[in-house]
């Protein structure tokens, strides 16, 4: 009796965000340690971890944007399309129009801002459901990508290739290979960008008025209005942040793959949503954490790597494992929240 009461106190004393975040981080570490113990090999090398970061930097960025929108009670499923559109536009600009790196970055940001303005306006000021708006946004981006250029192609621009191959070495994390040569561990530029964004957003969400407004609007729109928060503007900004981050994420993605294609980032929006949810963001809004989202992306890609290195057919099993993982996390969320509700009620 006594212990159960204490447990109740612990559960109900913790706020929603921290509770879900803790679960996510614990599970990620258990999973990674499990991978090291049972599969060894690649997972013991730090570079394995950095590779996960390298290939998922864009996902981290878009997932962060998704979290912001979800915390404020919306959703944006256009991010995958925007990523594809950005990479295609930048590729065409660099190769066919002999553009500069700076110009291509401007294009990426421009597409993001344009998406933010249109979607944000429709959702925040015309009160149209965000799902429908961003659904149309996704259709539009995918369609536009093929209109810009139908065939996929690799970018040959020298300046760009140099930037793409830039490696930032992480001191002390290298390994010695079979020949006895020290191989330093590295990350790509995109990872640095992603980490800066994670830190920035963490600060914004945790400590600024704007950040707390996102939570307030997501928690209870009507109350937020009564509390004197400009709900429409807050919603607009959340969509703006998400779209701009999708633009930046698109550029980072482009930097990683070095090509433009209409089939780029297929289903990325679903991965971004899944990462946010695994990271403890609730689709109902008002609950979530950027650090959780980072761990969500890491968990998702770690499990993909585990599946791949276990020798299971990639295309086949990835979908099923991600879905299974999503299912497990959703159930945990659902059960934990129900338990908590009960604990508070009594």
């Amino acid at each position: 009796m006594n212990t159960s009461k204490e447990k109740k106190g612990f559960l109900s004393g913790m706020n929603d965000t921290n509770l879900l975040l803790t679960i996510t981080i614990v599970i990620f570490f258990l999973m990674y340690i499990g991978a090291i113990v049972f599969q060894g090999g690649g997972f013991t090398k730090p570079q394995m971890f950095f590779n996960i970061l390298n290939s998922n930097a864009a996902l981290i960025i878009t997932a962060c944007g998704m979290s912001v929108v979800m915390i404020s009670g919306g959703i944006d499923i256009s991010v995958g399309g925007v990523v594809a559109l950005v990479s295609m536009c930048c590729a065409v600009y660099l190769d066919y129009h002999d553009g500069s790196i700076f110009g291509s970055i401007l294009i990426a940001l421009g597409i993001g801002v344009a998406y933010g303005i249109v979607q944000g306006f429709l959702v925040a000021y015309l009160d149209i459901q965000p799902f429908i708006v961003s659904l149309a946004g996704m259709f539009f981006a995918r369609g536009m990508t093929t209109i810009v250029n139908t065939a996929p192609f690799n970018v040959a621009d020298e300046e760009f290739t140099a930037l793409k191959l830039t490696r930032i070495y992480v001191p002390g994390m290298g390994t010695v290979n079979k020949k006895g040569i020290y191989v330093p561990a590295y990350v790509e530029i995109g990872v640095i960008v992603a980490l800066i964004i994670v830190v920035l957003l963490f600060v914004v969400l945790r400590w600024t008025k704007l950040g707390r407004s996102f939570y307030a609007v997501g928690g209870n729109k009507q109350s937020a209005l009564m509390l004197g928060i400009n709900v429409q503007r807050t919603k607009f900004i959340s969509h703006m942040i998400c779209s701009v981050l999708a633009g930046i994420g698109g550029y980072v993605y482009f930097l990683h793959v070095g090509s433009g294609s209409a089939s780029h980032a297929m289903g990325m929006e679903m991965n971004a949503i899944a990462s946010s949810i695994i990271g403890g963001t609730m689709l109902t809004g008002g609950v979530g954490n950027i650090v959780g989202t980072l761990f969500g992306v890491l968990s998702l890609s770690t499990i993909q790597n585990i599946v791949a290195s276990a020798g299971l057919d990639q295309a086949w099993w990835t979908g099923i494992t991600i879905a299974a993982m999503l299912c497990v996390f959703l159930l945990i969320q659902s059960v934990v929240m129900a338990q908590k509700k009960k604990a508070v009620k009594n």
């Binding site: 706020n15 600024t208 009564m226």
Partner: protein, 504 residues
């Protein structure tokens, strides 16, 4: 603008499609004055308040504030900036934020906020106001009453000149109400003008200085409290002289059938997961009884357990002396039990559905999934009860959410009466509705009982229960602590039983 006034509203007009909600209404609020805004539901109180707080924009008229002259208020933010703070009946805070955040969000300056200082300030304020909450606690972890107190603390802390309290007491118990009144008097001394909206007449006469009465969207008048006795106030609100309420019981008399002593419903050691202690209970045919006790004493939980609305954990239930199982609402309905829930908005109405669908719902469910009523039949039922209960609605097809509170309640009542239950449970049927409808409902209860229906009636207003019930079950701390009947049915006796024998 006259001196010593903090607020003047002049010639306010506001109409909604088909309704003139406010017609040329004036309202004045003095410095350091507690001013009651009274009227039946639909009289325009809420609309006036919402115009003042910028939730609605007015069609015409002016709002002037002391020292600022005429102001334009287009949003709740505007109102806040002009020193108008509001506490609403429904808690308008964000449950996912902390107590401190709820108190300060939307009114701090600059982009970066010093949360440490805010937490300290919040703790200080909570302590000053004697509110049992911590600044860093998540709001959803607080009880409803504490949440309401936090909302008030937020409003109080703002440098406000006008404080609007829109039925803030409906979820507070007496001690908490007393605390709130102390707070109001305290603010009054500091020169804050307070607009107080409530349905409790006692409370008006306890704290207010002035009363403004609205009826049908029009101003009836502004009165000093000492110039307006209760009876007159009620008369002004209703627009007619009211018949003497205390007589309604004598008028109708009780049920006189031969089976008046039969126990229709009997429960022993009934317990649910809502946290009440196991209790025994019975009701006879044609009897009106009630559960009384302070808010949170477990009154509602008891009747919810009877109806199977909460998960039943143990105990036996008998109908007509025969044991039955009631695990979910449908079981209770099949046994002829009907339950009008406490929270009309959350548990009662189905907002977007028409009045007709809302009326037939319970009987329809009872009849079965595969046997829908014909349209003609449904209309016949709806029309019958709209007439019988005098429900004011444009048509049977009107969505119930566009009706006034009192009429919504009548629709829910119609829903259960249509089922022709043997045993009707009414949980706070008179809360938040106008005086006229209140009387109608009480009369109806006694009529139903006379015709042989057993009724359990719960109300926060003890005099209502004294008027209708012949037996009262008294509760304290989620436990049944006594039963009163006959000569024991007095205000004093109830109070002393609620408070505990030692206080007699």
């Amino acid at each position: 603008m006259e001196e010593n006034r903090v607020l003047e509203m002049r010639g306010i007009n506001k109409s909604f499609p088909g309704v003139k909600a406010l017609q040329n209404v004036d309202f004045n609020l003095g410095k350091g004055e507690i001013h009651a805004l009274m009227g039946e539901n639909g009289a325009g109180k809420s609309t006036l308040i919402k115009v003042l707080t910028g939730v609605y924009s007015k069609d015409s008229g002016t709002i002037s504030l002391q020292g600022k002259g005429e102001v334009a208020i287009h949003s709740p933010q505007d109102a806040q900036k002009n020193g108008i703070s509001t506490v609403y009946q429904e808690i308008t805070l964000c449950p996912n934020l902390t107590v401190a955040e709820n108190m300060f969000i939307g009114r701090t300056q600059g982009a970066i906020t010093n949360w440490k200082k805010i937490n300290e300030d919040a703790d200080k304020l909570l302590q000053n106001l004697d509110i049992p909450a911590k600044a860093t606690q998540q709001l959803s972890n607080c009880s409803i009453a504490v949440q309401q107190m936090v909302a008030i603390a937020r409003a109080v802390d703002m440098e406000c000149e006008v404080l609007i309290l829109d039925e803030p007491t409906s979820s507070l118990d007496e001690q908490e109400v007393e605390k709130l009144f102390n707070l109001m008097r305290n603010l009054k001394e500091r020169g804050v003008g307070i607009i107080f909206v409530t349905h409790f007449l006692d409370q008006v006469y306890e704290v207010c200085d002035k009363i403004t009465v609205l009826r049908d969207g029009q101003l009836v008048g502004e009165y000093e409290i000492k110039d307006l006795p209760r009876v007159q106030l009620v008369a002004k609100m209703l627009g007619k002289e009211m018949d003497d309420l205390s007589d309604i019981k004598g008028e109708s008399g009780g049920y006189e059938g031969g089976d008046a002593n039969e126990k229709i419903f009997e429960a022993s050691a009934l317990q649910s997961d809502a946290g009440i202690k196991p209790f025994d209970f019975y009701i006879k045919k044609g009897e009106v009884n009630g559960f009384t006790g302070l808010l949170g004493s477990g009154r509602s939980e008891c009747v919810r357990a009877i109806f199977g609305a909460d998960r039943v954990l143990g105990g036996t239930v008998k109908m007509h002396g025969k044991e039955v199982k009631i695990n979910k609402p449908l079981d209770a309905m099949k046994n002829g039990i009907a339950y009008l829930p406490e929270d009309r908005k959350v548990d009662g109405i189905i907002g977007d559905l028409s009045v007709r669908d809302n009326i037939i719902l319970a009987l329809q469910v009872l009849k079965g999934f595969f046997k829908p009523f014909s349209k003609a039949q449904a209309y016949a039922f709806a029309d019958e009860y709209i007439k019988k209960l005098n429900i004011k609605t444009a048509s049977a097809d009107t969505p119930i959410k566009s009706l006034s509170g009192g009429n919504q309640q009548k629709v829910i009542l119609a829903r259960w009466l249509l089922m022709h239950p043997e045993y009707l449970i009414l949980d706070e049927p008179t809360r938040g509705i106008d005086v006229g409808t209140k009387v109608d409902i009480q009369k109806l209860v006694l009529e139903l009982a006379k015709d042989g229906m057993s009724v359990t009636f719960i109300s926060s207003e003890t005099d209502e229960m004294l008027r209708t019930c012949s037996r009262l079950v008294v509760m304290r701390d989620r436990k049944v602590v006594g039963e009163l009947a006959g000569g024991d049915l007095t205000q004093n006796k109830i109070m002393s039983t609620i408070a505990g024998e030692s206080k007699v």
